[in-house]
Symmetry: C2
Subunit: 440 residues, 2 copies
């Protein structure tokens, strides 16, 4: 395990720098944008997640002796490039959508202004983080809405790479989940952790009753007992018999949930355990969560679907050069011309427009001198707000975007941003973005 993030990148970033250094073009001021051409999965909106992680990874983006030795010994770049990399420290500016914000096709989640070499080097790392974290957060946001305010726990660590699991817990929490089963996410990001018990715990003991007794003895009657290892009805009866009517919750992990949940609720009530909650965890996604809206479920545990973006495991983000200075120091807007992969060149600032009721109605990308430039404050007709914020200024990470503080701010920002969207945004069907993106 290496703490440097510098090699979490594609080889071609470094060979491009090598070639540009030799050609004298590496130091041209350049603007890169990270954006999605479309919302993968035909989502109605996307959720920005990964910003804080990206800024933390940027701090550790340094080529130490180990990294440089690998590059030299394998002749990946020339000695001149190795020397340049040894001194690498991002010194440019980064603007972006703040974490937790919603986004749409073309939204520049990150705008990097620096030399070409400094900016191109961050392409793969930035995309890895945002493609994964945004996919998880976007799925999680839909699930949060589908749950109608009932708490959701992220329990998918086992269904994604062991480090992605920690990122997924963070992204889901920002997008509305209440807790995670992942301990590292608890330690690293201060996210509340939760857990019940596995079927193996029941099976280990000589009877379900002995297993429940062991769990209640250790964790108290407020614990959650897993009641479906053998027969659910008997499991519920045993659970209340062992823990009493003050049992915290029962968990159901199999069966036709709407039917099973209704029966378990009726049985708990009949046994006098009106306060005992029901949590369900059987391969849920936003659609099955929504289908349980009228069931007496108290909380949901979601695994596979949230950590794999519910059918969209990567958000389709790209990182593109949109402007640079030419040989004469003049700014040039650029874009690839291929018909199927067109993008809009040029520096942009972004404004979100609202109607008179405060509902978002459009995302406007203003082509011009970019964020913080002259277009700021320009009258676009009606209420609007600037979306982009400075994330890094002259190499210095701006406060409030990283660590536990950044996560709390992102979670609250997400809640507000979603509340401003038009009702169609909450549709779980595939369709067009909830608001259009215009370019001016």
């Amino acid at each position: 395990m290496h703490t440097s993030t510098a090699l979490l990148t594609d080889r071609y970033e470094l060979t491009m720098i090598d070639a540009a250094l030799q050609a004298g073009t590496a130091h041209r001021r350049s603007v890169f944008e990270l954006f999605a051409r479309r919302l993968s999965g035909a989502r109605r909106y996307g959720v920005v997640a990964g910003t804080g992680r990206f800024l933390e990874a940027l701090e550790r983006f340094r080529f130490g002796d180990d990294e440089l030795r690998f590059l030299s010994e394998n002749r990946i770049v020339s000695d001149a490039a190795v020397d340049w990399l040894a001194d690498y420290r991002f010194s440019g500016d980064i603007w972006g959508y703040p974490e937790g914000e919603v986004f749409f096709p073309g939204s520049p989640l990150v705008t990097v202004e620096s030399s070409f070499a400094e900016g191109v080097l961050l392409e793969t790392l930035a995309l890895s983080i945002f493609n994964y974290d945004c996919a998880v957060a976007t799925a999680a946001s839909r699930m949060s809405h589908a749950a109608h305010g009932k708490p959701l726990a992220e329990m998918g660590s086992r269904r994604t790479g062991e480090h992605s699991a920690v990122s997924a817990a963070r992204a889901a929490y920002i997008a509305g989940f209440s807790s995670t089963s992942n301990l590292e996410a608890g330690r690293r990001y201060g996210i509340p952790t939760m857990g019940t018990a596995a079927h193996s715990f029941t099976l280990l003991h000589d009877s379900e009753r002995e297993a429940f007794e062991a769990q209640v003895a250790a964790l108290g009657t407020g614990t959650t007992l897993l009641v479906d290892t053998f027969d659910i009805e008997q499991g519920v009866r045993t659970a209340i018999d062992v823990a009493g009517t003050g049992l915290g919750a029962v968990r159901i992990d199999s069966g036709d949930l709407p039917v099973v949940v209704a029966r378990v609720r009726a049985l708990l009530d009949e046994l006098g355990a009106q306060e005992t909650r029901i949590t369900v965890t059987n391969d849920l996604d936003e659609h099955t969560v929504a289908a349980l809206a009228s069931s007496p479920v108290d909380s949901f545990g979601v695994g596979t679907s949230v950590v794999t973006g519910s059918g969209t495991p990567a958000m389709g983000m790209v990182y593109k050069l949109v402007a640079h200075e030419d040989a004469d120091g003049e700014w040039v807007s650029v874009a690839k011309k291929s018909a199927d992969k067109a993008s809009v060149g040029g520096r942009k600032s972004v404004r979100r427009l609202y109607n008179d009721q405060g509902v978002a109605r459009a995302e406007v990308c203003l082509l011009g001198d970019g964020p913080g430039g002259e277009s700021e404050g320009e009258d676009l007709g009606g209420r609007s707000r600037e979306v982009l914020v400075p994330l890094v200024s002259a190499g210095e990470t701006q406060s409030g975007h990283v660590g536990v503080e950044g996560i709390a701010a992102a979670k609250e920002r997400h809640r507000r941003a979603v509340a401003e969207l038009p009702p169609i945004a909450m549709s779980l069907t595939r369709g067009d973005p909830a608001i259009p993106t215009h370019y001016r």
Copy 2:
């Protein structure tokens, strides 16, 4: 970044241990199996990947002061459990399918025999690794077959979490890919790295010609020039004009590939560049690779689809208690009874059966005393071989399964295992497993 892997797990593993310690059941000898109930995505076979990574992660599965402090301060487990965790070091036995081997529904990829507490603790970490790595390797193996021997490069780092990217490069390499764009995978696992250039490199320069000149000057004529930033035909002409007919390769990243590739090949030949290769990279998966079988493509770069398991981002692995000693020290086979999640209890050894032509015809799980036991060598009628190998014995990792050596062995093992499968295994359509799994 913490080098301990001990918190890459779900909270409930630790609370179960806490309860089992208090109940006196934590030390019961137990057997856990990691297996897939079915082949996700209706694949014809699965590919084992992640074994070496799991064994390496197991070596670092230690609760240090930082981990223990987090557990204590957050009252996740009792002081007695904290003390037990402080001394944790896996001391049991692990058998498994060796990495690179193919597997089928029910195949015990990993069999852990230890105390309940020692074994249950590894559930989440093992599943995270195998669910992701096997999904990637299984997709990669299909792509390798579809490419008919032409080299495939893994270029999907940007489409999965930044650490999963390194795992994906490793899994794809084992399953038949030739190289990766990921530098950390090159450093950590010795996998050959490759790279071309991005559109941003062309756009940075004042013309495509200047960009090509810069790249050829730095990287030599053997490099690969990206020719589709503007007009592909003009791009190819410029590339040969700049590099000469000795140009290594051109890369095409957009357009209707069968048509474009044929035109580019004809143009290269017309320009005298018969030896210049063509590499394509436009959102490929096993189906588009197969569709290019008769096109003059020389190599493929695959991104999103391989690192996201081509529609199956998690392999559907579970980790289940299948046997344990009871209060009297007698072995008991156990299995959850829920109809939709049934599994087969008991210790197993596994034999692969062949027909007279050496083609695999069945996977047989022998219920009994487990791997290395008396059923070894039993006559099953016709040719067969043992599949399980010892991975960890009394806590000691067996040699040959980790590091660069383990990867090389796994890659060769995969090649041999796939070659033994019946022809239906190579079908890209959804369907039944290529061979059945029997239990005796």
